[in-house]
Amino acid sequence: MIAHLPILQVIVPLIAAPLCLILRRAHLVWLFALFASGIAFLTSILLLQQVMDTGTIVYELGGWEAPWGIEYRIDKLNAFLLLIITMISTVVLMAAKKGIEKEISSEKHTLFYVLYLLSLTGMLGIVATGDAFNVFVFLEISSLSAYALIALGNDRRALWAAYQYLIMGTIGATFILIGIGMMYQMTGTLNMEDLSRRLPEISQTRTVFAAFAFVIVGICLKLALFPLHLWLPNAYSYAPSIVTAFFAATATKVAIYLLIRFTFSVFGLTFSFTTLPLQTLFIVLGLLGIFVASTTAIYQQNVKRLFAYSSIAQIGYMIVGFSISSVTGLTATLLHVFNHALMKSALFLALGAVMYRVGSVDLKHFHGLGRQMPLTMAAIVVGGLSLIGVPLTVGFVSKWYLLLALIEQGWWPVAVLVLLGSLLAIIYVWRIVEAAYFKPPLANTGDIKEAPLQYLIPIWILILANIYFGIDTRLTVSVAQAASQSLFGVGL
């Protein structure tokens, strides 16, 4: 059983998805999906433990040896990502029953869980696999179910948002496919391990350059790197709240993983950062992303949209950490992947609770909510503080490492810019705080009660995790550090 963990990680949600259709009853389906996701979560914990103890796990699918068969290769990096994805998916699912009650019409509820599990399968597959073409397959599984999930919303604008995402996402996936095709043409293999060995020999060819460009641009579309982020605000603001909470915490993180995997493992550090000017390009785009997206966030009236822009800005921080290309820098990025997942899922779930009670997440509907929904608003405040990076929250931990990495390299101006960027976060978070606590409730809203427990419990699990991992950083820091050290090939 233990030996088969890598495949179980992916196969459990994949099998669970069609089984939902057999169960049909929405309540049962919810419990079953939650159960499947919980199993996946447990699997990921076991995997991480195993990887940290014994090192990389290689699993040959169907017993076919690579490069003929597909190989799953779990190292510290993807074990960490698997943990994040399954953890968030499980906690978000806990709120899903209430969450979709008002936002998705009841005949589509079963469908929602099927799509959710498929999307989860896709993401887990992308992360677990060690085969470049397999990445594309899972990418399509997760993306196609994502488009459908976004379109499930009652808001008609969700259709347009999903369509936009479909177009952009397909372009991205196609680019990745083209890149992988070129690599196959040059090396005759799709296995990442083989690719990383064969690519350096032919790295000076134009085809490899083109392959690299296609793959990177494709991934950047998926991770909504500025200026390829245009699909994200609409998708996040019009999708059902539960879907937003799940995707905001996981989808872009998977893309970040792919970026790291392809640049560090497949193409190799020297090729990505020395031969090509990736560093300059990414640092500029990352910083631009932080500033443009944060500033745009300040002017949003729809709070879901506001946090969507904030997500783009946070991706900017991850990209800056990534482009430093030092152990500390990559540690900062990985930490922020984990920490940002915690913050954003908590915040979007809390917005879901507001949506459930108030029916809108416009800033003006937040007036007076500080008294009417004290626990939900307190969660948003703590989540917001974490986003700003106040000590004792997870946001502080990742910011600390990012600054440490920047100053180690002597990149003073960038360090100052990163800090200034986090001031913008204060402004957009405080707009919500002021609306909720200083404005009297709108006249015609009637009696608004606190969110139901099924919402409050998962929200507060995530919020407490925000604080817990901000205080006890042993797990996150040690795993992130170990993962980034092994990518740089030190300390092995």
């Binding site: 503080l385 700003i388 990076g389 106040v390 000590p391 004792l392 931990v397 600390w400 600054l403 440490l404 100053i407 180690e408 360090a415 100052v416 800090l419 200034l420 986090s422 001031l423 204060i426 405080w430 002021e434 606590y437 200083f438 205080i471 006890d472 950083t473 042993r474 820091v477």
Partner: protein, 504 residues
């Protein structure tokens, strides 16, 4: 009770935080709630005094909580400067609690539970700052203090409170994130430690330009010290209820700022290194400018609380200046000024609150002749004014004496003149208030104001709890003049511990 000193140290931080929960739980019964607050502040004072005795008997008290990031610990210890700060804050918290019961009730404030709860968190954070063993721990509690005082500043919930809160939080958070945090990280990268070490953490042959830049970052980053141009938050915070202004914005928050500066100067840089840094002189002049400009602005304020706020900015400049002078006398003067200014300024704020509650006046121009109506309050105001100015028989005399001595020792003539001129300005903006109150026709002014007040000669003082509180603090100003020994010894031992003997 037989608690070990280590446990007591932890309790000073944990107790107020735990009591916050109790206060919230019994919030619907005001008498119980305020009983809990008073009991907590008594217990806290008891703990701090015990710790003081432990310190004077020469014990080392160290507590390690946990490691937040590798090699960055949350840990606490006791040294004289922190002890001084903790003593002042815990004693004045007790007094302020008594005062605020009178004030909040007679003013029929809403949300009093939130008020007392946030107050308790703030005091817990202050204890954390006072006993922090390293810069990292200090920074954590520094930010907690900022956040926990935000609901207090915006207590009224009005548009004006919202705006004040914006400035307050905006400046304090921004400076701490952009400058303070950056300075901490750079210090960590250069020296490899954030531990407060007597004599400083930097090597002898460290790059002085870089360390000088760090010093600037520290002085600007510690926005709570109110050095211009980052002082605007303090007047903005004056929208808070008066007990908040009294304790937090005359004592806890601002003193946390100057305390941090002193601590950084003495235990991170070390005063020997400070003297050779290229930026020290620039910062000294900045502090001097802050002293003079704030005094000048204070003269133009007609709102009593605003005038006191600017006066605070000016007096904070004294402490920063003393810290940066890098001479033993100046450091002693600075730390003594933390105490004497605390007692003086809290009395003034108590009086301002008392005047507001019983006479409903906020403008200085309307207070002419008020001495007939509120003789005790205005007498206390007079004594506290003397202490701020720094003349006998009040405690302020000593601290200003040592600060002047410090400028002489280091031959900073310009700064000496700044200090003297500022004292004159202090006289000009503080004394007329109490003089006019008692002798409305002594100084020229508008006729009709004084006539109206003179007609009302009935004595109508503030509520009794408030009155007791302000009498105690005024009395303390005088006691600090007669018995300054304990205060002096504490201040002098700061440098003993940091490896330097006073009076070379």
């Amino acid at each position: 009770m037989n608690l070990s000193l280590e446990l007591m140290l932890q309790l000073t931080i944990i107790l107020p935080l735990v009591m916050t929960l109790v206060i919230v739980a019994v919030g619907h019964r005001p008498n119980v709630r305020e009983g809990v607050t008073i009991a907590t502040s008594l217990a806290l004072l008891y703990l701090v005094i015990n710790l003081y005795q432990g310190l004077t008997s020469g014990e080392t008290i160290e507590v390690f909580w946990w490691e937040l990031l590798p090699a960055l610990q949350v840990s606490f210890t006791i040294e004289p400067l922190g002890m001084l700060f903790a003593l002042i804050a815990s004693f004045l918290w007790l007094i302020t609690t008594v005062y605020s019961i009178g004030y909040m009730r007679s003013h029929h404030e809403e949300n009093q539970t939130r008020f007392y709860a946030c107050f308790a968190i703030a005091i817990g954070a202050v204890m954390g700052i006072a006993f922090a063993d390293n810069l990292f721990t200090l920074f954590i509690f520094y930010e907690i203090l900022t956040l926990s005082t935000y609901p207090l500043v915006t207590h009224a919930g009005t548009e004006q409170a919202k705006k004040g809160g914006r400035v307050y939080l905006g400046i304090l958070l921004s400076t701490s994130i952009v400058f303070f945090l950056l300075a901490i990280i750079i210090t960590w990268i250069i020296s490899g430690t954030l531990q407060f070490t007597p004599g400083g953490v930097f090597d002898e042959n460290v790059n002085t330009t870089l360390v000088g830049a760090i010093l600037v970052l520290f002085v600007f980053g510690i926005g709570k010290a109110g050095i211009m141009p980052f002082h605007r938050w303090l007047p903005a915070a004056m929208v808070a209820p008066t007990p908040v202004s009294a304790l937090l914005h005359a004592v806890a928050v601002v003193k946390a700022g100057v305390f941090t500066i002193l601590k950084v100067v003495v235990y991170i840089f070390g005063i020997d290194l400070l003297a050779v840094l290229p930026t020290t002189q620039f910062l000294l002049y900045l502090a001097g400018a802050s002293i003079l400009l704030a005094s000048l602005v204070a003269m133009r304020q007609d709102n009593l609380k605003a005038r006191l706020a600017y006066s605070t900015i000016s007096q904070l400049g004294y402490i920063t200046l003393g810290a940066l002078l890098a001479s033993p006398a100046a450091v002693i003067g600075s730390s003594m000024h933390i105490a004497t200014h605390a007692f003086g300024k809290i009395t003034l704020f108590f009086c301002a609150g008392a005047i507001f509650v019983s006479a409903h006046k906020t403008k200085i121009s309307e207070m002419r002749g008020l001495g007939r109506q509120m003789p005790i309050t205005m007498a206390a105001f007079f004594i506290a004014s003397l202490s701020i100015i720094g003349v006998p028989p009040t405690g302020g005399t000593w601290s200003k004496w040592f600060l002047l001595l410090g400028t002489l020792e280091t031959e900073q003539w310009v700064l000496m003149i700044v200090l003297l001129m500022s004292s004159l300005l202090n006289i000009a903006y503080l004394l007329p208030i109490s003089v006019n109150a008692f002798f409305p026709n002594f100084l020229p002014g508008k006729e009709q104001d004084s006539n109206r007040l003179l007609a009302n000669t009935q004595i109508k003082e503030a509520p009794l709890p408030s009155l007791i509180a302000l009498c105690i603090t005024a009395l303390a100003c005088v006691i600090l003049f007669i018995y300054p020994q304990h205060l002096y010894q504490l201040s002098a031992s700061i440098l003993d511990i940091s490896g330097m003997l006073y009076g070379k």
